[in-house]
């Protein structure tokens, strides 16, 4: 089996996780910038985090033979403070040329507030000005439907944005159709306690599409499973999926999206 982990917060994982992922067939990991579990006190904290994502973490992954890519932003959970967000967004352009940076993400909404919307629009503008791919986080639980609608409105209203260059992550049964119908890519996140189980993810693949869709573990410092993608591949096999279709969803689909950034190259 070979697969891409298109969304993993590796700075909060152990070297055992790297070993397990590579052993399971992981060919590359992509790490979006996210919330640390606490609010950073200044833009300097983000500067250091961006250095970690673009310098230190790729070196750590390389020790296990795993190519590591990253996405940069200030995440929606820290976007209520527009002044801080403005400072952080101002830091990003100087990191965009780093060899492992794929685009702007994971941007989006958390509680669907006006300030979060403002910061989302600033990120979308940044991505448009620098011709970057976009990775979007949709809110959790009861906030997901509304947040997904608002996010789609923001992206569609900026005429510079091409939907095929944006992935809307953490879709579930009530949002996947909205995302795919609007021409965007959809990401399914496999979490043990919320978001999506392997069985539901395979149901959605059967019901909606094998195109413009990927799966990720979004493994982080919370309850999450770094091997969720290969485990879901086992679920596909249990249902009698042909090996080529499994390979398409867990390997070729993410490569198709990510290769729109010329820096995404596998050895």
């Amino acid at each position: 089996m070979r697969y891409i982990e298109p969304h993993g917060h590796m700075v909060s994982r152990t070297t055992d996780d790297y070993q397990d992922m590579v052993t399971a067939g992981c060919a590359a990991v992509c790490e979006p910038a996210f919330w640390a579990g606490f609010d950073r006190s200044s833009a300097d904290g983000f500067h250091d985090y961006f250095c970690q994502l673009t310098d230190y973490e790729p070196k750590r992954a390389a020790k296990f033979g795993l190519p590591h890519f990253s996405w940069l932003c200030i995440n929606p959970k820290e976007s209520e403070d527009v002044a801080l967000a403005t400072d952080v967004i101002g830091l990003i352009p100087k990191f965009l040329d780093r060899p492992n940076v794929l685009g702007i993400g994971e941007i989006g909404l958390n509680k669907n507030s006006r300030n979060e919307m403002k910061v989302l629009e600033m990120h979308v503008d940044l991505a448009a000005r620098h011709d970057q791919l976009i990775l979007v986080h949709t809110p959790h639980l009861e906030d997901k439907l509304k947040g997904t609608r608002l996010i789609l409105d923001v992206l569609r209203s900026d005429k510079r944005i091409r939907p095929e260059r944006c992935i809307i992550d953490h879709v579930e049964e009530h949002t996947i159709q909205l995302v795919l119908d609007a021409g965007f890519w959809a990401g399914m996140t496999l979490y043990p306690e919320s978001k999506c189980s392997p069985a539901r993810a395979v149901d959605m693949l059967d019901l909606y599409s094998h195109e413009r869709i990927w799966m990720n573990s979004a493994c982080d410092w919370g309850v999450s499973i770094p091997l969720a993608v290969p485990r879901t591949a086992l679920e596909m096999k249990r249902r009698g999926w042909p090996a080529d279709l499994v390979d398409k969803v867990i390997y070729r689909n993410p490569i198709q999206f990510l290769s729109q950034c010329p820096k995404f190259k596998l050895p």
């Binding site: 300030n115 979060e116 959790h140 639980l141 439907l145 509304k146 049964e173 249902r239």
Partner: protein, 88 residues
């Protein structure tokens, strides 16, 4: 997969999850004090399970969702509770 294959593969797991739900509702009933909007939302969502039409998972998710369309004036918390309280 045939219906028999689906049952063979998923029935015991689904049964296990259903009994967990039943035990959860018993636990809520046994406990003291006031409940909140979450248990009402849960009972509403449960009704979708008994419906004999497709997309039950989608309807359960929709029934827990905030249906409004205007952004909040301000985010005062970071977390989500899992059900919409009926107002923002």
């Amino acid at each position: 997969m045939t219906r028999q294959q689906v049952l063979d593969q998923y029935f015991v797991d689904a049964r296990h999850k259903l009994i967990d739900l039943a035990a959860f509702l018993d636990r809520v009933d046994r406990s003291e004090g006031e409940a909140d909007f979450r248990i009402a939302a849960f009972r509403t969502a449960l009704k979708h399970l008994a419906e004999k039409k497709p997309h039950r998972a989608k309807r359960v998710l929709l029934s827990f969702s905030d249906p409004t369309t205007k952004p909040l004036a301000k985010a005062t918390v970071k977390g989500a509770t899992g059900a919409w309280p009926g107002k923002n």
